[in-house]
Amino acid sequence: MLNYVLARLLTFIPTFIGVTLVSFSFIRALPGDPIQVMAGERGISEERYAELAAQFGYDRPIYVQYWDYLTGVLQGDLGVSFVTKRPVWDEFFSLFPATLELSICAMIFAVALGLPAGVIAAVNRGKFFDRALMSTALVGYSMPIFWWALLLIIVFSGNLQWTPVSGRIGLQYYFPDPTGFMLIDSLASGQKGAFLSAVRHLILPTIVLGTIPLAVIARQTRSAMLEVLGEDYIRTARAKGLTPARINGIHALRNALIPVVTVIGLSVGTLLAGAILTETIFSWPGIGKWMVDSIFRRDYPVVQGGLLLVAVLVMVVNLIVDMLYGLINPKIRKR
């Protein structure tokens, strides 16, 4: 197992370098640079521009800039935001809990609904529920997030006034945030109504962000279950006189989980990409919104550093998923 993990870590190296290259060139490929953006409408004199460019090091050849960036990264230095002057690293970790909280909630939402839906669809293959569910999943999968979010906002925030439209908590609440997770901090604060307010702020973003993973998980669970249900050991389970609930929910689902865990792992990337849009729509102060704002400000270090950290995160999650396989199905451990 240790060897396996080490081998996997080795394959991280080229991916890692690739990500630094992409994130470095992506932001520079956009028209405009940080100095122009900072200057704004007023414009800036040629001399002052050259002075600032020299100060930030943008007058040097591009490969020298990249090399500086890469060596900095390898020493754990992601640079300092042009806008806030705070280290990228610090900003990331102060905003990350918000994104993590939203992503975890979206994943729980997707798994909690997607797994049972997929199981029920497989068990009732070809019947009404199956067809209805799979068509819904297809719609959910192909729906533009932006449009879906607006629809939910119009109905639940606009017409019904059930949920707030933006932020993580009502403005009247203020309390320290030791964990950065609003659900936990609001509970810990002991303020009346704070937790409920946090929950209500979470509902729509969670649904919006969780919809695509939900559709993917439901479909994958269904197809994995259909395969497993034809296996000999399912016939054995039936021959034991077990109830259908036990056969489907324990004997079959446990085996069907492998491909499902795979798509859950793969969804983490999708989820972080979706978080960027979702956070922007709902003014959710997480790394997604942070990065979008930084792109508009041409805040090079933040965009580079943020993309890199997100990519590393996705790689680590995929490694964890790989190790989970062995836990779910001991037969795979043998390899």
């Binding site: 016939r235 389970a237 021959a239 034991k240 006189g241 077990l242 085996n255 001991p330």
Partner: protein
């Protein structure tokens, strides 16, 4: 009264290309403590007929029968919940592929204890003790350690012993073993058959042994039912069946036994069991029968009397005249 009693059992499958009758009017009786072998080539409907008794056929199957009763209870009238209380407890079944018949995600001990908990409501300690006892009974060495193993860590023979232990966990009255040794090495085959016979002697349960191998029949069975293309075509006690088979198909199966071969090459029955599309008119065996004539090809032979093994044949072998002649 017999433990298992089947009258006129038929099973039809709805397939993409129409209906297919896999079991056709089969009668069967199994007494308490008896070993009945059901023998026939692959595709004869042996498995399907017993899966119908267990209620394990897929929804594409339609089961009809005049009677299917077990231990005095009418299985046809029983609802799914009542049947679940009975199968795996009083009526158990094991299968051909021990490796794939056990769930790869759970230890074999877990799978056995599950049966004990569901049917007998045993407590944790009691279950573990009984599981160890069962492993000892089926001859698995070092039971405590083996209970913690996953199926892929055990050999095929060991897994079949696990399957048997699981099947007899609740002391069933009848065990149906569907080709229990077909997937195993020859030496292991004999061990498993000996184990099944010994368990029958010990517990007094009835045993239905499904096989395509007349050698297995000779070793194990007391009474034999020969099935062909979904029909029961002959039935006798094992001694008389081997000495005086009445149906040409039974005779052909026996001729194919290695120890009976007179020539260098083993005689085999030419052709295959008819399936959905090549079901002949008249006698189902007529395309492959060396005694077939025009009548055989045109008319369906009825089952003869019990003295002739209820053979479905116009020209039964080893009738008194023929034996005399």
């Amino acid at each position: 009264m017999s433990l298992l009693r089947i009258r006129n059992l038929s099973v039809e499958f709805a397939t993409a290309s129409g209906r297919f009758r896999a079991v056709d009017g089969v009668d069967q009786d199994v007494d308490e403590g008896e070993i009945l072998a059901i023998v026939g080539e692959s595709g004869s409907g042996k498995s399907v007929s017993m899966l119908a008794v267990m209620g394990l056929l897929p929804w594409t199957a339609t089961v009809t029968a005049d009677e299917v009763s077990f231990d005095g209870q009418d299985l046809l009238a029983m609802d799914a919940a009542a049947r679940r209380k009975m199968i795996g407890k009083d009526l158990a079944m094991i299968f051909q592929e021990p490796m794939s018949s056990l769930n790869p995600c759970f230890t074999v001990g877990w799978q056995i204890r599950e049966a004990l908990r569901i049917h007998l409501g045993m407590g944790r300690r009691e279950r573990q003790a009984r599981a160890i006892e069962l492993f000892e009974q089926v001859g698995i060495p070092d039971p405590e350690k083996r209970l913690g193993a996953f199926p892929h860590q055990l050999s095929g023979g060991m897994n079949q012993r696990v399957m048997i232990a699981m099947a007899i966990a609740c002391k069933p009255k009848l065990l149906i073993a569907d080709e229990p040794t077909t997937a195993l090495d020859v030496t292991i085959q004999a061990q498993i058959l000996d184990l099944l016979t010994a368990l029958r002697d010990e517990t007094g349960m009835g045993l239905v042994l499904i096989t395509h191998d007349m050698g297995v029949v000779a070793e194990t069975a007391e009474r034999v039912s020969v099935q062909y293309a979904g029909q029961k075509i002959e039935e006798q006690r094992v001694g008389p069946l081997f000495r005086t088979p009445h149906h040409p198909y039974t005779a052909a199966l026996l001729d194919a036994l290695p120890e009976r071969a007179t020539e260098k090459h083993l005689p085999t029955i030419p052709g295959v069991v008819p399936g959905q599309f090549d079901r002949p008119e008249g006698c189902l065996f007529s395309p492959r029968c060396k005694f077939a004539d025009a009548k055989c090809k045109a008319q369906v032979p009825p089952a003869l009397g019990p003295d002739l093994g209820r053979a479905r044949c116009f020209y039964p072998l080893n009738t008194d005249e023929r034996v005399a002649s």
